[in-house]
């Protein structure tokens, strides 16, 4: 016993109207050590049952005149008594046998009077075994419940710890956001310079801003050939362009060259030249030159981050403060099936599945206002397909720390798809950034009114120069920048060449960003106005904003993002990476990735796969403190426009918890399997018990039958006539009992597969005729009908078994059909075999009983001399033939029992139809 229950003595409550039987049974049971309670009325019985909670209720045929089946029904109907095992003692001579099947309740054991003491004790022994088995099952169930509760509690604790860790990570991330060095550099501005060349390319004028451009003072460059400053590789092109420009008149030519800074570094300058050689004042070639090194760097960085977001397998979105999409990456578009045009500007609710719990959307949106959100939810693609995603959201802040949007990183967790192997080129969107900048040259009087403005102003502002001349510059400036510009005019400082940036309102009503490099015009030593160059920097500003947005997005995500070069040297890691691995940025940048990923061969393999496109899988990584942990890594390659790999992006997720849960699930599965094995053993023990009981029953029946038969054959003449009836009844009951035991044995053989079929060609119509003639004496006024093909129906089957099945079905039909009714046996050929049905015009079977009639010992209606095993036998015998058995019934109209027999072998049956 695995039970921990205290050992209670096995208690039996015996109840019977017959006081003599009651005391006989009680003393027999007491002698065997059972604790026995007695009751002689129904009320006493229920009182004792409720008070003493006996293990077994042993019921005689009647109690307070009520049948034992009715008492059984009442006991089973009371919840507090339903645990008690009930054994019924039947009296074969009593008419109570007719009420045995009054209700759906089944006794746990049956005894037929007269029974021997051994029968009684044997029955009680079985009840003890049943009780023990029940207790073991209950113990196992409790143990399992307890384990589930413990596991749930542990998982809750783990979950709390995780939540705290995430919160801590977010706090540290926000602290670092404002002090980023790398990205502030990117936002640094360039300025302009003006140079004039004579027709031989010699510099005749260089504006003072050249010092910030190239480190030279204007006087160091003036009088020298401009070509000596140009990079050797660009020299030939520059000279060709220049000689061409000299030939043309009044045409602006934009161009860009690499130029050496005084400190030796290389700068990329872009100039807009104009041939004014014929102009008597200038008599030269004037160029407005801009340093575009930074702009190119920003473009590069934008491309890198855009590539990064486009490349990763996670679905990335950026939404504005009204929860509308302003950016989605390629993985997002692939997963949801929308095009970019369709989804941008849409509210996030468009993806929402109505199958999520109520209020979850509101909860996510509300929480995003103040903190990050992480969890799982159902989303819906454009085609209506729903799939679960795991979503991380983080707020994006601008340089001032204001929240400007929200980045969402999600994964389709239905299945981790292989990332697309090819990266898509970042298209027109980012190419727009490489827009030509048109310079505007202007001069104003001391009040700020335009005295000259070059024709390129129309390109920038939409106004023609004549529309602007005489108007104050202030009319065109966005009012919020006005004080800054006015300060320039109020404190004209001839030495101040620092360019300023502001927004101007153009004719269409839009705003454009300009950079103004201006200087004071001195007349007689007094300021008389300003002149300068305006450059349209709107595209550059937008590019800066994009790069800020994208870089913040990459930095903000909860996944560990790393960017490495083609030799696996770390170029960038985000905050989540640093907090997960425990390193500082300084400790990681420039190091080989093997710092965190042990196992050189695997790392080399991942690198190789990634360079071919992308890679996904699980790896073991190492933190700074040496602990190793599992990650899920997805990598992809970022390519430049020529298709060269410029960087590798890795997105890693710590899957320690997931692994742990997988192990837990394995363990629980093992526990379940063990429970199942134990139950199987119990079932086997029950089978063994069943065989023992059948064996013992047959030996006893053998003795009983021989004795009664002997008396009937040899001593009947010595018994007084009235008593002879008793002997005949006893013999008949013994015969029924032995049939029942034989049926049990057949069923047991068929269930264990020991029954072998003896297949012979048999004519089913002949079998039916033999069957019907057997019942001729019991026919009364009923009509017996056989409907079969005229030559019968030949099929391979075990004729003995099939005839017994037909006997069972026919005798059942006879029992339930009134004397003026009809029974029809219908034999027909069906696809692949034969179908036999027995139809009666009897009482029918209620739909509640119909599905259970093939169960062992189940009896739908009370009729005499039935074993409750007949239909079980029929079903098994037909299934052994590979056929099937069923019943249809309408209450009040009658029942149809049918079975089918398949063709045993092709050609072995002869069809006479």
């Amino acid at each position: 016993m695995i039970s921990g229950h205290s050992k209670k003595k096995f208690t039996i409550l015996a109840a019977d109207d017959d006081a003599r039987q009651l005391s006989l049974n009680s003393s027999a049971l007491r002698n065997r050590g059972y604790s026995v309670l007695q009751a002689t009325s129904r009320d006493e019985c229920f009182e004792l049952a409720a008070e003493q909670k006996p293990d077994v209720l042993l019921l005689g045929p009647k109690l307070s005149g009520i049948t034992s089946m009715e008492i059984l029904r009442q006991v089973k109907a009371k919840a507090e008594l339903s645990d008690i095992l009930v054994v019924l003692i039947f009296d074969p001579e009593s008419t109570t046998g007719g009420n045995q099947r009054a209700s759906g309740s089944e006794p746990d054991g049956r005894l037929m009077r007269p029974h021997s003491i051994d029968d009684l004790l044997g029955c009680m022994h079985s009840m003890e075994r049943i009780r023990q088995a029940e207790e073991r099952l209950r113990d196992m169930q409790e143990m399992f419940d307890r384990r589930v509760r413990e596991r749930t509690a542990q998982l809750e604790v783990i979950n709390d710890a995780l939540q705290k860790e995430i919160a801590e990570r977010q706090r540290s991330e926000e602290r670092v956001t404002t002090s980023e060095v790398f990205f502030r550099e990117v936002t640094e501005n360039s300025s302009d310079m003006i140079i004039i060349l004579n027709k031989r390319g010699v510099l005749t004028y260089v504006s003072p801003s050249v010092e910030r451009f190239l480190g030279y003072l204007p006087e160091e460059m003036m009088g020298k050939a401009s070509f000596r400053f140009i990079h050797r590789d660009d020299l030939e092109r520059a000279m060709l362009d220049f000689s061409e420009a000299v030939q043309l008149k009044e045409i602006a030519i934009p161009n860009s060259f690499r130029v050496r800074h005084k400190d030796g570094s290389e700068r990329l300058l872009e100039g807009l030249g104009k041939n004014l050689l014929k102009n008597p004042v200038i008599s030269g070639f004037i160029m407005n030159v801009q340093d575009v090194t930074e702009r190119r760097r920003i473009e590069e960085a934008t491309r890198l981050f855009a590539h990064t977001l486009e490349s990763i397998a996670e679905l990335v979105t950026i939404t504005d403060l009204e929860d509308r999409f302003t950016y989605v990456n390629k993985a997002f578009l692939d997963a949801y099936g929308y095009s970019r045009e369709e989804i941008l500007g849409q509210h996030v609710g468009v993806l929402w599945s109505p199958n999520n719990s109520d209020g979850l959307l509101i909860e996510i949106l509300e929480q995003n206002r103040t903190q990050n959100w992480h969890g799982e939810l159902l989303n819906r693609a454009k085609n209506g397909r729903e799939f679960p995603i795991s979503l991380h959201t983080s707020r994006i802040r601008n340089e001032k720390g204001e929240v400007v949007g929200l980045v969402g990183i999600s994964q389709d967790i239905t299945e981790r798809k292989k990332a697309e192997t090819r990266l898509r080129d970042s298209e027109a969107k980012y190419r727009d950034l490489v827009e030509q900048i048109n310079e505007v040259i202007f001069s104003t009087d001391i009040e700020g009114k335009f005295t000259y403005i070059s024709p390129t102003a129309e390109h920038l502002s939409g106004y023609k120069p004549e529309e602007m001349l005489g108007h104050s510059i202030a009319e065109f400036i966005d009012t919020q920048f006005l004080p800054m510009v006015q300060a320039r005019y109020q404190n004209p400082d001839p030495g101040n060449l620092e360019p300023i940036e502001y927004r101007v309102k153009v004719k269409s009503g839009d705003y454009r960003w300009v950079r103004s490099s201006s200087s004071t015009i001195l007349v007689g030593g007094r300021p008389a106005g300003m002149r300068g160059v305006l450059a349209d920097i709107t595209a550059q500003k937008e590019a800066q904003e994009t790069v800020t947005l994208l870089s913040h997005a990459v930095k903000s995500v909860a996944e560990c993002v790393s960017i490495t070069d083609h030799r696996n040297i770390i170029l960038f890691v985000n905050q989540a990476f640093l907090s997960t691995y425990g390193y500082t940025e300084k400790e990681m940048i420039g190091k080989h990735i093997s710092l965190v990923a042990p196992g050189g061969e695997i790392v080399a393999n991942v690198l190789e796969k990634t360079l071919q496109g992308s890679w996904q899988g699980e790896l073991v990584n190492r933190k700074k403190d040496g602990t190793e942990f599992p990650i899920f890594l997805s990598t992809s390659v970022v390519q430049d426009e020529q298709g060269n790999a410029i960087a590798l992006v890795g997105v890693a997720t710590d899957i320690t918890e997931r692994k742990k849960i997988e192990r837990e699930l394995d363990l629980q599965k093992k526990h379940l399997q063990e429970s199942y094995e134990r139950l199987k053993q119990l079932e086997m023990a029950r089978d063994t018990l069943f065989h023992m009981i059948v064996h013992d029953m047959r030996s006893r029946l053998f003795v009983l039958m021989m004795g009664l038969e002997f008396l009937e054959k040899n001593e009947l003449k010595n018994i007084v006539p009235p008593s002879r009836k008793v002997l005949v009844q006893a013999l008949s009951t013994t015969t029924t009992l032995s049939q029942m035991v034989n049926a049990l044995l057949d069923i047991s053989k068929m269930e264990s597969g020991e029954m072998k079929l003896r297949l012979n060609g048999s004519n089913l119509a002949e079998l039916a005729e033999r069957l019907v003639s057997f019942y001729e004496l019991q026919r009364e006024n009923r009509r017996f009908v056989i409907e079969a093909p005229s030559k019968g129906l030949q099929i391979d089957c075990d004729a003995d078994l099939v005839l017994r099945v037909m006997h069972n079905l026919f005798s059942n039909a006879l029992k339930f059909t009134p004397p003026d009714g009809a029974i029809t046996i219908r034999i027909a050929r069906v696809d692949g075999g034969a179908r036999v049905s027995v139809e009666d015009t009897g009482t029918g079977i209620s739909p509640a009983h119909l599905p259970r009639i093939f169960e062992k010992f189940y009896q739908a209606e009370a009729k005499e001399s039935s074993t409750g095993l007949g239909l079980t036998f029929c079903k098994l015998a037909i299934e052994l033939h590979g056929g099937s058995l069923g019943a249809d019934s309408v209450v009040g109209k009658g029942s149809t029992f049918w079975f089918t027999l398949p063709e045993a072998h092709e050609g072995s049956s002869r069809d006479f139809d």
Partner: protein, 117 residues
């Protein structure tokens, strides 16, 4: 008078079979298990043996095998009577072992006995 050895571990069965056989003019010997039956059969050479199958010690099948190995008992006809649920198998190789399933009626048992004697 023909002698019949009745082997069964159940006293009630032995008593009833013995009674019926004596009423039909047979001399009856009893054994409660296979090894006792083997000893009796060797010593008393009965004309027929009626044996149960499921018994402790030496069961009915083993008893048949042992009797057939011993030349003095090899030819004695045997009737196996079993209440077990499993099939008896082919214990009729030389045609001298009959097989009946409990509960067997008195007339069937007597029929089987008279067929052999």
């Amino acid at each position: 008078l023909k002698t019949i050895l009745v082997v069964d571990d159940d006293t009630d069965v032995r008593t009833m079979v013995k009674f019926v056989l004596r009423q039909n003019k047979f001399k009856v010997l009893e054994a409660e298990n296979g090894s006792r039956a083997l000893a009796l059969a060797t010593a008393r050479k009965p004309d027929l043996i009626i044996s149960d199958v499921m018994m402790d010690n030496v069961n009915g099948f083993m008893l048949c095998e042992l009797l057939r190995k011993e030349p003095s008992t090899a030819k004695i006809p045997i009737i196996l009577v079993t209440g077990a649920a499993q099939n008896a198998g082919a214990w009729n190789s030389d045609g001298t072992v009959d097989y009946l399933q409990k509960p067997v009626s008195m007339s069937d048992l007597l029929l089987a006995v008279r067929k052999r004697l």
